[in-house]
Amino acid sequence: MLSQLIWSSSIVLGILLLVRGLQTRLVSQYPFFFGYVCFVLFGDIISFFISHWNQHVYLYAFWITEFVGLLLGCLVVFEIYRIGLAGYPGTTRMARNALALLFVVAAAKGLVDTVSSPGWWLKPNTIELERMLRTTEALAIVTLALVCLIYSISFGKNLRGILLGYGLYVSALAVSLTFFPGEGHGFWWHALSASYVVAFFPWLIHLWSFQKVQVVEPAAEGTDRDYQTVAKATRQRLQGERGQLARAVRS
């Protein structure tokens, strides 16, 4: 009963978001995001009919849509990165390096696990595999959000909503997959299904109307200044402040 309610509400909310997206023409602004919502919506509708027809086929359909959804989700993150940081080449470079570092760490962990237990990749099932991938995706979103927060990047209402909702969904999914025992329709199973429905609240609130993103004027931000000179001056000023603080402690 609860599963049916979550399922049908995700279909209704998905249709509502797509209709609003078409009305406000946000679909053309964020094609990957609305493509993702569209894919999940049709996946849900098709899965709904398959589940009533054949449970065995449904299991395969479920995992196929999950993994294709994961790949499309990565495109959503890429869209946030591309549009949100378009006017900020410095922050783009920071985000790119931070994300590369994150993927190197994730790959290194995988390598260490392989060396310490050679058959580890044979053991995990689909749930474990998705948990690992979703956790990495959640960490990538957190890293991107953190870099944008540090550099006070103004995303605008629409893009902020996409990031917030998608981040919430992926994080909730990673947590639910960690605690989900693998079988049965208990609390974590429902949490797993409800995580997507929860994401619709920030999406609908932030994407209800189109809001123009404020464009940065590079000249006003001082792009003509050499980065190394600026960094050197900042370091000198910060070290001067550190000297003051050290004197306060040692005085």
Partner: protein, 184 residues
Amino acid sequence: MISAPVTLLVGLLVIGSGLLVAQGLASARKGKVQFEALLLEDDSAFPACPSDLVNRIFFADDSKFIQAANSPHLAELFRRERRQVALVWVQQTSASIHRVMHDHKRIARVSKDLDFETEVKLLWLYSELMLLCGALSLAVQAVGPLGVRRLAVYAHAHSQRLAQVQQSFQAATRPRELPRVGAA
């Protein structure tokens, strides 16, 4: 595998550091509000504390001078006021650090030749300073500006003692070299 106590310790250290940085940022915000209360129209008119002020605030000279008057009421008033002055100094210093970094980030985010390593080092230095400001703010509130100095001396003495204990422990546990056969 990393053991559970180590994970717990590292977790506590990370959370503690995060809270201290947050305290430093809160001090910076208070300092900024104080500046804004001065209704400064020009941002460049942001007043910086004189460098020798720190010596007067945290040194015991003024305290000794007041105590020489033998008035407990005056000594108490001095302690209270000095604590307030020290707190405002920490807030202004952290606000100044925050402003330096804010100006830097405004330029860095649109810079085409940004260097990742330099930027990470600057962000690390900024976090370190904010942590120090947070710790100093808490210490001033807890033990007063003169107590901060005593705490520093105490911590330094203990770290020295800890280093000595560690050295003697290492010396005691170091495997003894076996005498070589045929050595004179």
